[in-house]
Structures are given as structure tokens and as C-alpha cells.
Symmetry: D3
Subunit: 153 residues, 6 copies
């Protein structure tokens, strides 16, 4: 899974593709988000906007690798009603990251270790925590606090 | 025009009708707002919400006279894709109001005079200010400030 | 599935439970939505709000059967950081509905038939359309239009 | 009308001009949107944002031809309270488009035909559909489905 | 401070007062929130909405004691441009709560202990954590994790 | 104070730094906004967005001097849970501005005088107006109208 990969550089660049949709319903937008993520987009997000003629609308934003512009632009034109997309390249500062596993009373939980200069952050993986919370009938918060307790002790 | 009528009571009650729409596009919503206002709704507004399956959606809210429930509920079911609406009655505290006209260098502008106990507020009517701003090639702000200057001097 | 059941009355009442969350992150909110829907809530939705101390926040709303108040209130207190929930009963006008299946070139698609007085609406089920769009490599829109074409011809 | 013109290229570039407004009311923003669109902006949209000192605010975005920067920047400074605007140039991938007219039982409706590579999309014009829905006392959805039925049969 | 008081009942009722503001700027709204909270409102929050004539707007909501209706309605009419407010009474299920203090390496931090039936939640007070984070040049997250570690060990 | 400085150029460039936060709560975001503004950011704002897995989220945006990129990127990584930020440089058209003081019946109020070509705008400073409104027990609107009356007479 992309979000679980080790990253050892501290900068890169991404493409931000956007379209304003005032003639698309929420069902279609939810479906488009699923397809875009499955196709390898780094991130997909919706911003509520307001357009002419009293139309509530959604700005659909996709972050992807710059080389993938044509593929994602075509997906947007196929799976939404937009007749055009705009895009720009952005630079990023990113934290280096790798993964480790912590054994907890709720089973093993993967932890992302991210660093930049002196700063080190450790964050329990959502998917593992959510799965553990379901299995043990407890809350997500309880699982995360248990991981943090082990990491800090 | 409803919003230009004199009001001499200081409380009333209204009906709030709502529907969550995750399968409606902005074009249809803008059209529905127009129709509902033309049909006598006191107010129609859209709230961006987020629903299941990653769907951005809109909560459509209508404020109307309590006796008009069936008529507006039917309009919502005809002009949107909703298959049901929920509603509740709310009480209101309202300011008494009447209208006067101020002669300005941008022509006559109607002013709403609203009062409640000791409090008196005077507010230039948007439609007149917008019309004047267009005719005189100036900004809405300039017209409103001129009205306020005359009211306060 | 609840949303696929035949409904033959045209009014009912629901409970709206709400909590303002300024100390909860999106991961937890997404997880809570899943759990609440699995537990039988009619609808769960998020509204972006803005609270004191410059805090962007979320109003979590749950629509459920009035008799289920305690169960859902407890879930909210267990799975979010809220220390209280507010609620109110609302009446609803709802459309009677039943289901039929249409055979299309993308396979069988269920259609919801909703009626209220003279008004009849037919709407292709999202889950079936999405599944068909994936299988046939086409867009959701294309599947829906095919269903509508068959329903209208 | 700009949105009804034939377009035969498949890429261009636009200027995105933005301003954050925490001291502007909705009436003025609605008026500014009207003026900007009348002045030839490609698109104008509002994004709800939250700023310092507990201020809900609006980001006003204008998409226009790159050569029009000064004209639209000046309009923003005249018609809103902003004391500055920021801008950037963005590239676009756009679908070629032309228009045709379909005769329906609700009268003639123009249809936008947009294409990009193998992909062809046909979309009924909102203004024609809305006008027809009003004249025939039916819903926008009913008119659009009729157009789609004729296009697909 | 109201939010720091011991609460020993598990239900109460509140008044929700609301007004839709399409002619108010963000500066005024931020100021009104401050005044309303200082005057004893339980909660004040803003919801972005969209109203007629292309107006982005804000729904201002106040939660207060039912007996305080007139005082808060008058404040809303004095400090915003609204000419009326609507309101409704809502019931609440609330968690009992008291406070304790935890000694941490960042100094003493108050902790809210909330309970309902079997459920007990402990939450570090924001104001104390924020003050400690500033004094020790660390992040809010670091302080909160330290409190949680002590509470869970 | 930065917003009170005389500005005599009419264009400059700024850096826009952004991060999407789906695992951060409102308390932390409000705290981060305070720290970023104290550290010299020109502007900090939150945009409600919707991300995968049904997560309501916030896009945090910072406008700062281009030379300050590393400092603000590091603050974002320290004070939020983000593991990366994206950024872009934007050009600005800005109004020249200086300040003057107006003596009113509510005491002295500073006024920003902004100009660009023929356009001149005068705007009463929020902080002075808010302080005066508190001292005199009146509304912010009343103070602003008094300043405008003096400026326009
Ligand atoms: Ni359109
Ligand atoms: Ni191409
Ligand atoms: Ni549905
Ligand atoms: Ni009926
Ligand atoms: Ni709190
Ligand atoms: Ni109980
Ligand atoms: Ni300002
Ligand atoms: Ni210039
Ligand atoms: Ni108005
Ligand atoms: Ni009264
Ligand atoms: Ni994450
Ligand atoms: Ni670095």
C-alpha cells in the first residue's frame, strides 16, 4: 500500500488537478473518489464551494505524480461531468518515514515513524487500530492511547 | 414583496423543513431554490454536509408558514430526488419593522426600520442599493455609506 | 438492507441526535460514522462548523428511531470525545416505496419506485449501478442513463 | 454567451485570482459575483474558510484570461473590501465542444457535445431545460431524462 | 469557569437560538461570538450556508439556558444585523463530570473525568496543555500524550 | 503590528503553504493558528474538506514571505500531525496603504487608507472599533458607522 511505503527523501513535487462541479451529485463524486484512489492518486479531496445561479458545488482535487497528468485528467473527464480540468505543479517538503510494529494487548499495531531534522513523530496506523477496536469491542481512542503508552514508556 | 412588508408583532412561529440530498446536482438545487422562493418560502438555504460512502452532500432547509407544510413538502419531493422530508416547528422573536425612503445623490433608496424595545436599526435595502451602484458605476459599499451618512446626520 | 425495504406509510417520526466536536480528528469521525450506520442509524452526517478559540469543528448528526435514543447516545459518548449529546424528535413526510428490477445490457439493476399522491419517481440503486460500472469499465452516469432509457421507453 | 461557444482546442491556460474576505457580507459578495461574471470572468466561486479571531470568511476565486489580470484585480479591489489579491497561472486540459439542438416534447433543447480522444459526452443545456420545466410545469429532472432518452435511442 | 464546573446530573435541557446572516461580515461575527460567550452562552458556533442571490452566509447558533432566551435574543439583535431569531428547546444526555489534577514534567495539568454508566473518559484540559506547551517549547500533542501516559500507567 | 505597517509598493510575492489534515482535532488546529500568526505568518486559514474513508478534514493554509518556507514548514510538522506540506509561490497586486487617526465620540480610531490608481478606500481598524464598542456598551456597527460618517462629511 502506497501510504505504507518507506520514504527516504525529504522533498518531491506533485501535480494538483482540480475541477469545479456544479452538475454532479454526491453519489457520483463518492464513486469517483474511490476509482481515483484505486488508480494510484496520492490524495483526493472535496471542497464545498458556491457557484453562480445559487448552485452549491464541489471542487474536486487530485494530488498525483506529475507524470500521471493525462491519465488522471482523462479519468476525471470520464467519471464526472466536467468538460475540463486545471492543474499546477507544487513542491513538497516531506518527512522521511519508515514503519515498525508494536505488540499491544490488542494485538500487533504498525506505527509510522516520521522524521525531519531533529523532529521525530510516531503515529499508530489507522487501519490496524480500527481493526483492533472492532475485534476488542473498544474505542479507537483506547487503542491509540495504548500504543502511545507503549511508545512513550 | 414579502421582505418589504410592514411587521408589527414581535413573535411568530415558522416551520423548518429539511432534506439531506446526496444524489442531487448543484444545477437542480439552484433551480429548486428559485422555485421555492417564488412559491412563498420565507427563506431557503443550503448547508454543505458529508454523508456515507464518501459523499459530499447538501442539506436543503426551507422556512415557511406552518400551514404550508404539505405544499412545500410536495414541492421538495417533486423538484429534488429526496424521498422524504423532516420538519419541526420553531418559535421566533422578531423585530417590528416598517419602511421609509431616503433621497440620496444616487436616487431614492428604501430603508428598513426595525425595532425591538429600545433597539432601533435602519438598513438600506439591498435591491435599491445594487440598482443605484450599477446606474452610477460605483460600489455597493459607497451607496450604503451614503445612505448611512444621511441617516446619521 | 434498511434502505432497500418496502415502505407503505407516508409519515413517521425520527430522533435527531447531535454533538459538536472540536476535539476529534477526521479518522475517528469516519470510524464513528461506520459504526453508527452498522448499528442501524437511519442516517449519519457531518456538518463543518466553526467554534470558539479559532477551532474548526464538526457537528455530528444521527437520525434514528426514537426508541433507540439511549443506545445511540451511548455510542456517541463511547466512540467520540463528546461529553454530552442533544436531541429532538422530528416528524417526517415520506414517500411510499417498493423495488423492482430492470434487465439492462449491464445486468440486472434494482430500481426504487417512490410515490406520494400523483407523484411517482423511479431511481436506480447506487450499489447496483456502481457494481455494473466497474464490471463493464464504464461510467456510473452511463449505467444510470441506460436504466432511465429503459424505464422511459 | 461564452459558455455556448464552440471550442476546438484541447488545452489552454487560465489565471486564478483569489482574495480572502473576512470583512465582507454576503450581500456584497453576491453582487460582486454578478458583476465579475458580466465582465467576462470564466468562473467565479466562493469557498467558506475560517480565519483568525474566530472569523468565518470567504475565499473569492476568479478564473479569467491571463491577459485580463489588471482589469479583474481592479474590480476586486473596487467591489470588495480586500486590499490585495493573489494570483497564479494554471494550465488546463479541456474537451473540444460544439452544440446541437434536440427537438423534444418540451420544445427544442440545446445540447453540448464535448469530446476528448474516444470520450464523447452530451449534456442538455441548463437554461433551456429550466425554461422548459417552468413552461410545462414539470421538474428539471423530467426534462433532462427526456433529452437523454432521445439522445440514447 | 463554566466548562470547569462539576456536573452531577445526567440530563438537562438547553435552548438553541439561531439566525441566518447574509449581511454580516466575519469581523462582526467574531466579535459577537466573544460577547455571547462572555455573557454566559454554553456554546456559540458558525455554520457556513448558502442563501438566495448567490450569497454565502453564516448560520449563527447559540446554546444557552432556556431561561435566558430574551437576554440572548436581544444580544443577537443588537450585535448582528439580524431582524429576528428562531429558537427551540432541546433535551440533552450528559456525562457526569468532575476534575482532578495530574502532576507532569510540564507542571500540573487539570483533567476532566466524565462518566456515564460504565463509561469513564479522562481528558486533559486544553488551556493547561496549551500553556504548558508554550512554556516548555513543545507541541500540544506532546503534553497531551504525557498526561495520557500518566493516567494510563 | 504587521497589519498596521505602511505599504508603498503595489505588488509583491508570497508563499502559500498547505497541508490536508484528517487526523487533527480542532483544539490543536486553533493552537497551531495562534502560533503561526505569532511567528509572523501573513495569514493562516482553514478550509473544510472531505477526504477518503468518510473523513471530514481541514486544509490548513499559511501565507508567508517566500524566504520563510523552511521555518513555517517545520512549524507545521512540529505542531500538527502532517508528515509533509506542499507549497507554491504566488504573485500579488496590493494596494498602497498608510494610517491616520480619527477622533470620534467613542475616542480615537485608527483608519487604514488604501489606494490603487484612482481608487481610495478608508477602513476603520477592527481592534480600535471593538475596544470602543466594549467601552461604550454599543455595537461594533455603531462605531464603524460613526467613523464612516466623520470620514464622509
Ligand atoms: Ni454547467
Ligand atoms: Ni489529451
Ligand atoms: Ni441514496
Ligand atoms: Ni401527503
Ligand atoms: Ni473542549
Ligand atoms: Ni443514560
Ligand atoms: Ni482585517
Ligand atoms: Ni495596478
Ligand atoms: Ni437581507
Ligand atoms: Ni422582547
Ligand atoms: Ni492518515
Ligand atoms: Ni528541511
Amino acid at each position: 500500500k502506497k501510504s505504507m511505503q518507506t520514504v527516504s527523501s525529504d522533498q518531491d513535487s506533485v501535480l494538483l488537478i482540480e475541477a469545479n462541479l456544479d452538475d454532479e451529485d454526491g453519489e457520483s463524486l463518492g464513486f469517483a473518489m474511490d476509482l481515483l484512489l484505486e488508480a494510484g492518486a496520492f490524495d483526493v479531496f472535496f471542497t464545498p464551494i458556491f457557484m453562480k445561479k445559487n448552485r452549491p458545488a464541489i471542487k474536486l482535487s487530485v494530488l498525483c505524480a506529475p507524470a500521471e497528468r493525462d491519465r488522471f485528467a482523462s479519468m476525471l473527464m470520464k467519471h464526472t461531468r466536467t468538460i475540463g480540468v486545471r492543474y499546477q505543479r507544487m513542491q513538497r517538503v516531506i518527512m522521511k518515514r519508515h514503519f515498525k510494529t508494536v505488540e499491544t494487548r490488542f494485538g500487533p499495531i504498525r506505527v509510522k515513524v516520521a522524521s525531519h531534522g531533529d523532529l521525530v513523530k510516531q503515529m499508530a496506523e489507522y487501519d490496524d487500530c480500527a481493526k483492533a477496536a472492532r475485534e476488542y469491542g473498544t474505542s479507537l481512542e483506547t487503542v491509540k492511547q495504548e500504543v502511545n503508552r507503549l511508545l512513550n514508556s
